[in-house]
């Protein structure tokens, strides 16, 4: 007998608040006129999503999210902003001319996805028991069931690293 949608339970209230933070900072990422602020709002979004993962009892994913996304990916993007001499103040040229078409597409996507998802999962309920996403369990799963994709991913990281180095070298030129 699944509980109704109203009133929301404690974890659901926390999840809704974190979700509002994530949505608000996500909207600010794609609409702000300052480039560096977009990267910083993305950090807020990642942090809110890490909180969402914690509420959903996926602790290991939450900490990996903070470590890798908020800690490494955003730093890389900030380096990119700095190395491409991007405007650091308010800039009017960050939005393309057909942003209204983009807004229409995004609204249509949102409409389709949200209606399909609500009509499909309106009655789904997940009882939250802590411990299902702990580091020990996820680690055991990765190194037993998912060990082959894990090894392939380390090869992929190596390939990406070598590729990035090759692309960045200025002494390797094309055929003349």
């Amino acid at each position: 007998m699944t509980p109704g949608l109203w009133p929301p339970s404690g974890p659901e209230i926390v999840f809704l608040l974190l979700g509002l933070v994530a949505l608000g900072s996500g909207v600010l990422v794609v609409t702000t006129k300052r480039l560096v602020h977009a990267a910083l709002w993305l950090v807020v979004c990642f942090g809110a999503l890490a909180g969402c993962y914690l509420v959903l009892t996926a602790e290991f994913v939450a900490w990996v999210q903070v470590l890798i996304y908020a800690g490494a990916v955003v730093v890389l993007l900030l380096f990119g902003i700095m190395l491409t001499r991007a405007p650091t103040g308010r800039s009017e040229e960050l939005d393309s001319g057909n942003w209204w078409a983009a807004a229409l597409v995004a609204l249509a996507t949102a409409g389709v996805l949200v209606t399909v998802v609500i009509s499909g999962f309106r009655d789904a309920y997940a009882p939250l028991e802590p411990g299902r996403g702990s580091a020990g369990e996820i680690g055991a799963g990765i190194f037993r069931t998912w060990v082959l994709p894990f090894e392939v991913l380390s090869l992929l990281l190596l390939a990406a690293l070598i590729g990035a180095i090759v692309i960045s070298r200025t002494d390797i030129t094309g055929r003349r």
Binding site: L42, V55, T84, D95, S96, V105, A106, A110, P127, L128
Partner: protein, 113 residues
Amino acid sequence: MHVVYPVVLSALLFSIGVYGVLARRNAILVMLSIELMLNAVNLNLVAFDIWAGDRLHSGQALALFVIVIAAAEVGLGLAIVLAVFRTRKTIDVDRLRALSERERADDDAEART
């Protein structure tokens, strides 16, 4: 926890990412929006893993793999953006039209006259 909440949040974040990819001109802002979309997918994976009570934790393991792949993609994407900046001095995606067919046709027409 009703599964509707994380799944609707994921759908909305994905749409916001779609708007960012299509509307922003700076290549790095496009990459920021792609990261938003990947995060939405991760939230979906984790929510369904918790709902299904998967003993193999396939949703959470796949979310971790998506995080790793996104990190590799950002590193490589930034290398490409920096290479483009080095040669063309701009990363405004609306102005990078060297491969556009219409411009090549105009250049061929000019070269013939």
